[in-house]
Every structure is written in structure tokens, then in C-alpha cells.
Symmetry: C2
Subunit: 539 residues, 2 copies
Amino acid sequence: MGISDSIPVNFSLPTSSSILNTDTVIAITVFITLLCLCIVIGHLVEENRWANESITALLLGLVAGLVVLLISKGKSSQILTFSEELFFIYLLPPIIFNAGFQVKKKQFFKNFSIILMFGIFGTIISFCLISLGVGLIFDRIGVTSLAIKDYLALGAILSATDSVCTLQVLNQDDTPFLYSAVFGEGVVNDATSIVLFNSVQSLDFSNIDGLTALKLLGTFLYLFFTSTALGLAVGLLSAYVIKTLYFGRHSTDREVAMMLLLAYLSYMVAELLNLSGILTVFFCGIVMSHYTWHNVTDSSRVTTKHGFATISFIAETFIFLYVGMDALDIDKWAASKASPLTSIAVSSTLFGLVLVGRAAFVYPLANIFNCFTKKDTDKIIFKQQFIMWWAGLMRGAVTIALSYNQFSGDSSEKALMITSTMIVVLFSTVVFGSVTKPLIEAVLLRNAKPMVSDATDSPSLEDLRLLFLENGDDPSDEGGSNRTVRKKSSLRLLIANPTSTAHYFWRKFDDRFMRPVFGGRGFVPFVPGSPTGAAEETS
Amino acid sequence: MGISDSIPVNFSLPTSSSILNTDTVIAITVFITLLCLCIVIGHLVEENRWANESITALLLGLVAGLVVLLISKGKSSQILTFSEELFFIYLLPPIIFNAGFQVKKKQFFKNFSIILMFGIFGTIISFCLISLGVGLIFDRIGVTSLAIKDYLALGAILSATDSVCTLQVLNQDDTPFLYSAVFGEGVVNDATSIVLFNSVQSLDFSNIDGLTALKLLGTFLYLFFTSTALGLAVGLLSAYVIKTLYFGRHSTDREVAMMLLLAYLSYMVAELLNLSGILTVFFCGIVMSHYTWHNVTDSSRVTTKHGFATISFIAETFIFLYVGMDALDIDKWAASKASPLTSIAVSSTLFGLVLVGRAAFVYPLANIFNCFTKKDTDKIIFKQQFIMWWAGLMRGAVTIALSYNQFSGDSSEKALMITSTMIVVLFSTVVFGSVTKPLIEAVLLRNAKPMVSDATDSPSLEDLRLLFLENGDDPSDEGGSNRTVRKKSSLRLLIANPTSTAHYFWRKFDDRFMRPVFGGRGFVPFVPGSPTGAAEETS
């Protein structure tokens, strides 16, 4: 192959830059070029409903991996080796933070109960089922060397849905309920499965008793609440600091830098304290969009809104590129020593268990939820349950990262586990990623006119929402006599609908105690000499 | 010391997060906390004319290094070791790109000749003098083991001025001429000294002849022009791609991501081809602000303007923190084995040579420039020359990075060179960084009313500028009969002032050929369905 021979010639120029390592420079150049290509291709296929950016990136990564494989004459397909550190420290935090920052908070908190049910209990059910299934089936298809710890780890690894691709497949405007439920579940699910994974790794399997499960639950609850609290605390701190010091007076850039750094700090501190950084940074994002974002200058608002989204977008695309390129890792495939038949058998087993594991909690939990919901319009209809099941089947970078963490060793069956999870990830992302959008259109939206696609946004509820939320939305309209009249007449409605009641009291609390301290919409100090408007143009 | 003993206790919580390396997490947490502190302190001392962000960061870094030193019981002051890769790949490019992106282009190109003179010939003069001086003096103060290559490397290392701190000390509005001259020189100087450094490293010193110097010059010119051309090419590519595809139609984030990635790509490709990435990314920034920036949606403009500035700001602050912490690197100080007296002697020698080396080109070159300038108002007065000399005395991260590159080894005198350059950097940054602002006020601005502080912006020239530049500024006003009349009457003026003539023809060329292809002010396609205005609020 002449390509590999000709490359060094091109690079031998008069002086050799001895400062930088050429391998790193090549790797970065290739990745940035691929990222640019992804953006251009993603833009061109935007109107195509079968494609999306994740799939484009994944396929482009595969192609690039293939090219590198050919150039290196079959030696290696990798330019960068998959590093959990890169993923968990640099790529995942901005994605999850941005998700919290841009999430529609009303929808999110309205569906909070179902998100927690699915994200916590659902993931635990899925974890148990997959672990059990793997334990029962693997013996029969010839995979025998794995320990009970590996089975449990596999359960945790394959319970981690991919929230990134879900975001691209579901539409926040067309199907707000599904979007917030599935996506919210995805965030809680990421946290749950990582906590489960860590718990499995730290458990002492020599003496398991009835207390172990209880301990696991205790640990989980402790992590959930402390992580959330930390996220809220850092978010409020950012709001308070920025409101008090008002950096915008001197420089817009300081505000933006402060928000960026504090968000990242929340993640790192959570990791340092062995909490769930994902949950922390997600709630930090929510608090920042509710308070901090309203305390900064106009330029900072636009910059943070689009800047965070851009960073998150680049990180997402990078992950899929990475996964695509990593899939052709020759060493792992060679190390697994498995026949194609075994490989297919293991992968199908895993994927089958993923399907069953998800079905086993989506339908029961949705129906339990329906039992406790009085209004018909609030119930989750079967078609929605189906989409919820389907949209959560994708597996992504979290799965791969955890799999590397558990199974990197010299055993051939461990290598087989890595290649098999890789196949599951590629297959689920490409197939489900491309089919989901058209499927939703076919199932929900095509005959959506008679049926309300987003059941919880029914007119009667909408009236109620308008009545209370809009009042809360305008903090300057306080204590009007009008309001008390309206309030009394709708007290009955409130009791019938606990979510809105909670929201109503939250708004009251927020306006009375929180916003005066932490700022927020309508509580921004106006400083005339702010540099916002002054320098809108680069000269 | 109880501190170090108590830390592990705090970190031992129920489950141990086994995925991430704790050291990395601690290092990042500490650095982000320090960065936040720098921002807050920098904001609080904003009105203080003796302090600035660089010095704050440097001192905070020193303090943090001291604390770490105490906690680790004198074993190490470092949390992260200084890595040239981190500096040249991740920190320097955004700073230089942002400098190009935000630079006042008119001022920059008006002073282009003086910037090139100072940046190229000045740096070469300084390089020769420092190398020579080191070669002559070091023998006498007992430093004997260094080779001629080390002397030349020291010349290159100490010729690299610090453009970052200069930016903070000079004010673009108060002293536009000085700002653009000193800062522009700084960018060209960075490139020149890195090229000189690389040349020195790659030279074969066994057979030096008359051709060597010529070769060096040839290499330098080749690098200068190819690097600039590459930067211009990538910038124009970004403008063309974004204008043609108009990503903003679908997503603001794609535009921002594309600009960010292409800018970074220009740097990496330059490094890959062994060109000067600094020059490339600087000119890429200039082209992007002239064309690409006008082709994107309004939100993207605000986001890129402030987003790039924020990234650059964080990188700058990070560098100074890093340098501050690195200064207490116990191992290097121990390895140098030098008595305090020798250490002081070497450092003072180096710093003295820096002073002389800069004086040796600023005054002569400025006076040569004055000889070729006919107008008195365009001449560089002595006070300005003094400030130009003074403001370029700071040495920064480039010096340290190159010094590590050259002198990391096991020889004690090499370690001494590293500690001595460190002292020069710390001393020059703290002293010159804090004194420069008040000095400029005292020298130039206090009695500025009678004397025009920015000599080149004199009224008569301003009239000329207005006449030609304003015409060019408004591309919609084309071929008016008015214009030809004006043009003829001022032909005389044009001949008298070559810079403006060049500018005038450039504007004509730009409007006729460049802007229609690459976009730019007034050539932006208006697409009604753009998402710009639609979603300005996070809900």
C-alpha cells in the first residue's frame, strides 16, 4: 500500500518541529477533520428522517477506522486508544450539563415521578434480569470462565441507555412528554447504572447475605440525594456569586468563564467525593438555567446558551466518531479468539436480554403509573409505552467505557465481552437510531389529529397550568385582589392534581425566598454601565 | 502536619469510584477552584492599576504551590507537571486565535511594517545579542558545561516576549498605536523565536559556514509565508463553507462548532507540516473575523465573539497559575545544585541581556522607521519608544516551555538554566506587569492633552481615512458619480500616504472579488427561516 509509504515524505520539511509529538498532532488533526466532515454531512442529511448526526459520526468513524487499518497494513485501526478518563472527565460532563441547562424544566418536573420510577426501579429491574439471564444462558453457549461478579457487571453495563442519541431521535416540540420522560430517565439511568457498577465492583462476594441488597439500596439512595444536593448547592452558589459581584460590569467573558468553571467544578467535586458526577452536573445545569442565567448580561446569555450547546454537540459527535473507530480494534478482536458463531451468539444473547430487560419494566411500571393516575388524559397509552420501550434500547459510550473498565485483561472471554458489547452498541445505535424517528411518525403522529399526541398536555390541564403558572411567571404582579378570587375557585382543581399543586407552592416559595437572594427572571439588577450593548461588533 | 493525614479520611466514602484516577480528579478540581478564585480576585482588583489578572494568577499559583509543598511535606509542589504538549496544543492556540479574531484590523495593518520589522529583525538582533552575551559571560561566573548549541538556544528562548501579559497591560483604546505595535510584534516574535529555536535544534554544528545563516534566513522566510498562507486559506475556506451551506438555517451551534474546529484545524495542520502554528492560527483568526463572522447568524456572532474570548481568558489564566505553581518545583531546584549566589548571578545575567537585547533593536529600528516616515505625526517619539522597549520585556510561558524542552536532562547546569529562566519569567511578569500600566499613565497619558498620544491618528490622516475607508465600509453605495469626483481630487493625498493607498486598493479588491465569494459585512445572505431570533430564551 503506497499510502503509508508516501505520508512520511510529505512531512519531511526543512525544520522538524521537535516540540510536539507527531502522533498526537496527527490524531488531533484527523479527529478534527472528521468532526468537520460530520457537521457538513449532518447538515446535508438534516431533512432526511432516517439519518442523524450520531449515525453519521458512527459510520464515518467506522470508515476512518477502516482507512487507518488499511494504511497501517492491518496493524491497528486506532489513532487514539479508548480512554475512560477522556470520556468521563472531558466528554460526558458537558453533554449532561448542557442537557440540564437546556431541558424544559416544567415538563421535566411534571414528569418527575415517572422519570424517577423508570430511571431507578426500571434500571434495577433491567440490571437484575440481564445479570440473571447472562448467568443462565452463557454456560450453555460455551462461555464458562466468567465469575458471578462479571455477570452482575454485565447487567449494570447493559442497563445504561444512551441518552445522547435519544436526544437526537426524539423531538422536544413534537412529543414533549416522551422527550422529557425518556431523556430524563436516561440521565437518572446513567447515574443508576454507574452507581450499580461501582457497587458491584466494591462488593465483597465472599459473604453475601440479605443485608447486601439493603446495603446496595442504602448506598444508592445516599448517592442520589447527596449528588443532587451538591448540584443544587453549586448552582445556587454560582447564582449568588454572579448576582452579588456582577462580573458583567467589567467583562462578559468573566461571567461566562465563571459559569463554565463552576459547572465543571460541580462534576469534579462530586467525583472527588465519590458521588455521581452525572446527577450533580445535571441538577447544577437546571439551577443555573433557572437562576444564574438570568443574572448575567444579554451577551452572556446568548453566549452560554449557544456556547454550552456547541461544546456538548462537539463532545457528542466526538464520542460517536470514537466508538466507530474503536469498533475495528484489531487487538481486541484477535484476543477474543472466538469463532464468528460464538461472537454472534453472545451478542444476540446480550441484545435479546436488553430487549427483554427493558420490556420487563417499561410496561409494568407504566401500567402501575396508570393505576395511580385518575385522569384518562394523563395515562400513558400503549403506543407511548411502546415508544418508551423502543427509544431506550440504544446503548452508547457509557456502556463501552464501563465494559472496558470491567473486562480489560488478558482473558479471551473478557475480550469477547468487550467485542460483544461493541456489537450491541453499534447495532442498536445504527438500527434504532435510524428507525426511531420514522417509527414515531408512523405510530404516534400520523393519526395524531384525533388522538392527543402528548396526553398530559390536554386542554383541561392546560387551563389549570395557565391559571397558576402564568401568575407565577410574572413576579411583578403580586398580591392582586383578582388573584385570590381565582385561587379559591380553583382550589378543588388543585387537590385533584398534585403535580400542579407542588408546582404552585414551589413558585410561591421561589418568588418569596429564592429569587430575591439568587436572582432569576425579573430579579436582575440593572446596571447602566454594563458593557453588554457597547461592543457588539468585532471591528 | 495534620493536613495531609486528614485528607484521605474525607475521601473514604461508601463506594470508591474506581473508574477515574483520583490524582487527575484532584488536580483538575484544584485548578478549577484556583481559576474561579482568580476570576473573583481579578474582578475585585479590576480598578487597581497595579494589579492585573496575570499577576493575580501567578501569585495565587505560587501560594497554591507552597500549600501543596507543605501538605506533601516538602516532597513536591506540583499537582500537574509542566507539559509542553498541554501548553502548545491546548492553551496557546485559543489565545493566539482569539488575538487575531479580536484585533483591530485597521490598526494592525496600518502598523504592519513596524510590526514585521520589530517581530522579525528585532527578534533576530535580540537572539544574536543574548546568545553572544551568554557565551561571553557564563564562563566568567562559573557555568562551563554548556555547549554552543545551548547558548544559541538560550538566545532563542529569552527572545520570546510574552504577548499574553502585554495584552492585559496595554489598553487598546487609550494607546491604540502602542497596543497594536507591541502586541502584533509579540505574535510575530513568538513565531520567530520558535522558528529560531527549532532551527538551532536541527542545525548541524559540526560544519558551520557562511551558508548556515543564509539557510536559517531562507527557512524562516519560507515558514513565515507558508504559515501565513495556510492561515489565510483555512480562514477563507471557513467563510466559503459557512456562506455556501449556511448552517444557521438548521442550527446556530453547527456554525459555532465549525468556526471553532476549523480554527483549531489550521493550527494542527500547520504543526503537522512543521510550519508555525501560531502565525497560521493568528491569520486564520483575522480572516475569520473579516469574512466568516459576517456570514453567520446573530446569535453565532455574539457566541463566537464572547465564547472565543472566554476560552482564551481561561487559557491565559491557567498558564499563569501553572507557571506560578511550577516555580516551586523542588526537584529542579535540588537538581541545579547551585548556590543562591550563582543562581542570582545567572538570573541577573540573563535578565540583563534581555534588557540590552531589546534596547538594541527597539531604539535603532524605531529611528530607522522615523527616517523613512515623512510626516512628523507618524513618527515614533522617544516616549513611545521607551514604552515599546519596556512593554516587551516580560517573558512568559513560551520561554518556560522552550526552556524545559532544551534543558530537561540530568546535568545540574541544565537544571540551573531552567530555574534561572523561571526566575526571569516570574520577576519580569510581576515587576513589569504591575509597573507598566502606571508607567504608561505617567509617561504618555498624563500630559497627553497637548501631545497626541496616538501619533498616527492625527486629524489630517483621519480625514483621508474617512474619505476612503468609509466608502469601502458601505458596499451598497456602489458606482455613485459623486465618488469619482472625490477620488480624483484626492489622488495627490494617496500618493503621499502609501499605507492608506494600499488599504484603498485592498478595499476595492475586497469588495469586487473577495466579498462576493466569501461573504463579509453587507454580503450576508438573508434567509427568513433562520433560527436565530426564534429561540433566544432557555425555557
